[in-house]
């Protein structure tokens, strides 16, 4: 069930009627939220409900066991069990075929044609999100950052909470579990913010869908001109941003309508001035998860460059089981380590630390260019295809003059990218003031919502669902 589908609208309408008017006490509310979340998930594929509930139950009891264990080694054993279980589930459903195919390809290099069977299992929606979320709970309990909570249903409900279940943001147990303990009631200000975020999110998703076609032009293997390639790459940058940040905004907005506060997941990422800055703004819940549960345990600033590289490599693999994602992660690992390395060079320190507008603009341009190169790796179907697009992006040979159509589409794609960021910037900086001007606020929301209902592209699901 996607947030931008009519079925979700009716689901939510019915949900809020019962949630707000029928189930007023804590326990019934929790049970009702759990059942509704499972229905939400089950509409996609009910067969994977046991997997979701099972991993919640397992991690709940493992956390209890960690908490009750008297020795550190015993605690470690239980944590290892949780890590193996969660990563095992991920490995089985998400990476098994990739690993088997890679082995077969590797053997083929030596002339051995291995007929390796593949599982071809359906990837359960949201598995990468909820396993990471669940894992963070057992790790936090192991580290002593939080106590194991009492209340299995509460924990399962928090993990399966429908606004964030299928595409994040990846919540930490310590962020969400206390809220489920209280089952907060929203304020009217929260509700207004919620409506604003839902509308903006829906609008960004709508723009993302419109950008899918020009993005496809650059990536579908047909030879295109320089301007069409750049248009396609920019369009994909807009598509993935609008798609994912739009979904996150809607998730945060829906949670707010229910009284739950979910931290932001994007903060104007394409305005970043360095690759490091980009990862502080893009999919924040994942990058901070990787920082806290991978980078720091690896040693953090000790052997910094190595640890960053490993973290980004695994971050890339988290996005999908394909070599393009591995290379994408490695690429980001490389540009982040290179940024750190260069910033330590006395000759470049002035440039890196400069606040001058021109230099800031140059830093933004370089960063944005590198991010775009990264998106080519992310979106391309193979490394060869990515390389071809890199060449098309930089090849001036036989350059035809861009026609009116190509120029128009280029301008539209750039405008779409800019509109989404300016809109986000407005909401971040002026949103609270804006939502208090009720005579403007509501009509604007209705107008934007109407636009979203008016515009539609067939068969465009959320990109991040595949992760």
């Amino acid at each position: 069930m996607l947030f931008n589908t009519p079925i979700f609208y009716f689901f939510f309408l019915i949900f809020i009627m019962f949630y707000g008017f029928v189930f007023l006490k804590h326990k019934p509310k929790i049970y009702f939220t759990l059942v509704s979340s499972l229905v939400f998930y089950g509409v996609w594929n009910y067969k994977f409900i046991p997997l979701l509930v099972g991993s919640a139950i397992a991690d709940y009891f493992i956390a209890q066991a960690i908490s009750n264990a008297t020795t550190q080694s015993r605690k470690k054993q239980f944590l290892t069990l949780s890590v193996l279980m969660n990563l095992g589930i991920l490995a089985l459903f998400k990476y098994a075929d990739f690993a088997l195919e890679s082995v077969a390809d590797f053997l083929l290099l030596f002339g051995y044609n291995a007929n390796v069977p593949t599982l071809s299992w359906v990837l359960p929606v949201g598995i990468s999100f909820y396993t990471f979320q669940s894992l963070s709970y057992t790790i936090d309990v192991y580290r002593g950052d939080m106590k194991a909570r009492k209340g299995l249903v509460e924990f399962t409900t928090a993990l399966a909470f429908f606004p964030q279940l299928v595409a994040g943001p990846i919540l930490r147990a310590r962020q969400i579990l206390p809220q489920f303990h209280k089952m907060p009631i929203p304020t009217w200000d929260m509700a207004k913010t919620g409506f604003l975020l839902i509308t903006i999110g829906l609008f960004k998703k709508t723009i993302a869908d419109l950008l899918a076609a020009p993005a496809m032009t650059a990536f579908d293997g047909t030879a295109v001109s320089l301007i069409e390639t750049w248009t396609g790459v920019l369009a994909f940058a807009g598509q993935i941003y609008g798609d994912f940040s739009g979904y996150s905004d809607m998730a945060i907005g829906i949670a707010l309508l229910l009284g739950f506060k979910i931290p932001l997941n994007f903060r104007l990422p394409y305005f970043a001035r360095s690759p490091v800055d980009f990862w502080r703004r893009w999919h924040i819940s994942l990058s901070t998860w990787l920082r806290d549960y991978l980078y720091i345990p690896l040693g953090g600033k000790n052997s910094r460059l190595r640890n960053i590289f490993i973290t980004m490599l695994i971050g890339g693999l988290w996005h999908g089981a394909a070599w393009t994602f591995v290379v994408w992660g490695a690429f980001h690992g490389f540009i982040i380590t290179a940024t750190h390395y260069l910033s330590q060079m006395p000759a470049l320190a002035g440039f890196v630390n400069s606040k001058s507008k021109i230099l800031t603009f140059i830093k933004w341009m370089i960063t944005f260019y590198l991010i775009l190169l990264g998106w080519v790796l992310f979106r391309a179907t193979s490394i060869d295809s990515a390389w071809e697009i890199f060449v098309n992006m930089h090849s001036l040979s036989g350059l035809p003059l861009p026609g009116l159509h190509a120029t128009t589409i280029f301008i539209l794609c750039v405008s779409a990218l800019l509109i989404m960021h300016l809109m986000d910037s407005f909401v971040i900086h002026k949103g609270e003031k804006f939502q208090n001007k009720k005579w403007i606020f509501w009509p604007v929301l209705v107008f934007i919502f109407s636009l979203c209902l008016l515009i539609g592209e067939p068969s465009n699901e959320f990109i991040y669902f595949q992760f």
Binding site: M1, T5, I7, L13, G20, P178, I185, L264, R267, S450
Partner: protein
């Protein structure tokens, strides 16, 4: 809004003093009123644009309504079902007259519509089947057009934005109910389009408005002959006047039943009008600019030369034949005449066509009749690169069909 959400203190709960029911009531009210206003704006927009399901599929829906009268006919029934090429190429009243001259008492109908690919045709054919079966009627003869370029991937992709709207307009309530049970997300979506959006989906609106931004297709390099164009248009005007004079009581809504889904026939026109038509076609045939541009348009919109078939559409076409087999005494599948002067398949395209024909034949047990290159049909009988003209092409092809099926219809029970 991310700043405000990030600034929230997750441990505080300032609203505890507010009645929960009151706050949820406000949320619900904002939710319902906001959506209601938005739906109102959408309906207003589509009203101003004059966009409604009835407008998009007007003749198809009219012909569906006409089925109730058709099944009550006393005569044996013949239906020619297909695309706009059928619409242009078969004259039912001429067919009936020719049959009557042979003492064959039948009534035929032209169910050829533009814009319906086999996916939509399959759904529509189910409505026809239902009507016939509910009334215990059978078609004596069903002639189904297999249109290769309506069945291509290109054509399929271009119709994607229309799929939900057309399905809503053509599907039965039972079918939508089954879709909803099978896939609730899609089912609720279709129900919303049907009941809240007057059959007009967002995809359809976007497809229509967004066509301005699609990649411009190649245009013909053959220069336009303005003098020829002018003369052609002048005769066109005269023909319109002649129509108004010769058919003063013509009612457009009677097109699908009284007119049997076909156009005028030469037997009803004056000699003067027929001469005008001859001149009109003569000029039309000289206009290479138009024909070549139409050819390029068909290549762009339907892959008419290479014919890369859509798996989904071929399957839909097989289902369509099977639907007709359930309520017809005889089902014939034909490939309609083609304008060989302008359209010739590539060798690869031809291979793909032959493979697809074989696949359809194997799946249905019917041998397809290839009328693409009939000796009685000439390139001059086409009004563009695909459609027959009315008083030469349609007449000749209808006569050919008469010759082919007169014996069968005479001997039929």
């Amino acid at each position: 809004m991310s700043s405000s959400t990030s600034n929230f203190n997750t441990e505080s709960n300032s609203s505890m003093s507010v009645s929960p029911r009151k706050i949820y009531f406000k949320i619900l009210l904002a939710f319902v009123i906001g959506t209601g206003c938005s739906m109102g704006l959408i309906r207003g927009f589509t009203y101003i644009m004059d966009a409604s399901g009835d407008n998009f599929l007007g003749r198809v829906l009219e012909s569906r309504a006409a089925l109730k009268k058709i099944v009550k006919e006393e005569h044996d029934l013949v239906m020619f079902f297909g695309s706009s090429m059928t619409g242009a190429g078969f004259a039912p009243r001429q067919f009936d007259q020719s049959m009557q001259e042979r003492n064959i008492d039948i009534k035929s109908f032209n169910y050829g519509f533009g814009g319906l690919n086999p996916f939509f045709q399959d759904i529509f054919s189910r409505r026809i089947r239902e009507e016939f079966q509910q009334n215990n009627r059978r078609l004596e003869l069903a002639i189904l057009e297999f249109n290769p370029f309506q069945t291509t991937i290109t054509r399929h992709k271009r119709a994607k934005s229309l799929e939900d709207s057309f399905e809503v307009l053509l599907a039965s309530n039972e079918e939508i109910k089954n879709i909803t049970l099978d896939d609730p997300t899609r089912g609720v979506r279709l129900l919303t389009i049907k009941h809240l959006r007057d059959g007009v989906s967002a995809e359809m609106i976007t497809g229509f408005l967004g066509s301005e931004f699609s990649i411009p297709r190649s245009r013909t390099e053959i220069p336009e002959d303005e003098e020829l164009e002018k003369k052609f248009n002048e005769i066109g005007e005269l023909l319109n006047e002649a129509f108004a004079k010769e058919y003063p009581n013509y009612v457009n809504s009677q097109w699908s039943y009284d007119w049997q889904g076909g156009g005028t026939i030469p037997q009803e026109r004056s000699d003067e009008t027929l001469k005008l038509f001859e001149e009109y076609y003569r000029l039309q045939n000289q206009n290479n600019h138009r024909y070549d541009d139409d050819r390029l348009s068909r290549i762009n919109s339907a892959d008419i030369i290479e014919l890369n078939f859509s798996e989904g559409l071929v399957e839909a076409y097989i289902r369509l034949i099977k639907n007709f087999q359930q309520f017809s005494n005889k089902v014939e599948v034909v490939l309609l005449p083609r304008n060989t002067k302008w359209i010739t398949n590539s060798p690869e395209g031809l291979k793909r066509l032959n493979a697809t024909i074989k696949r359809i034949e194997d799946a249905t047990g019917i041998t397809m009749k290839n009328h693409q290159d009939l000796s009685v049909m000439k390139p001059t009988m086409f009004r563009d690169t695909t459609h027959l003209n009315r008083y030469q092409g349609s007449v000749a092809y209808t006569n050919y069909i008469v010759e082919q099926y007169a014996d069968y219809l005479k001997n039929a029970d």
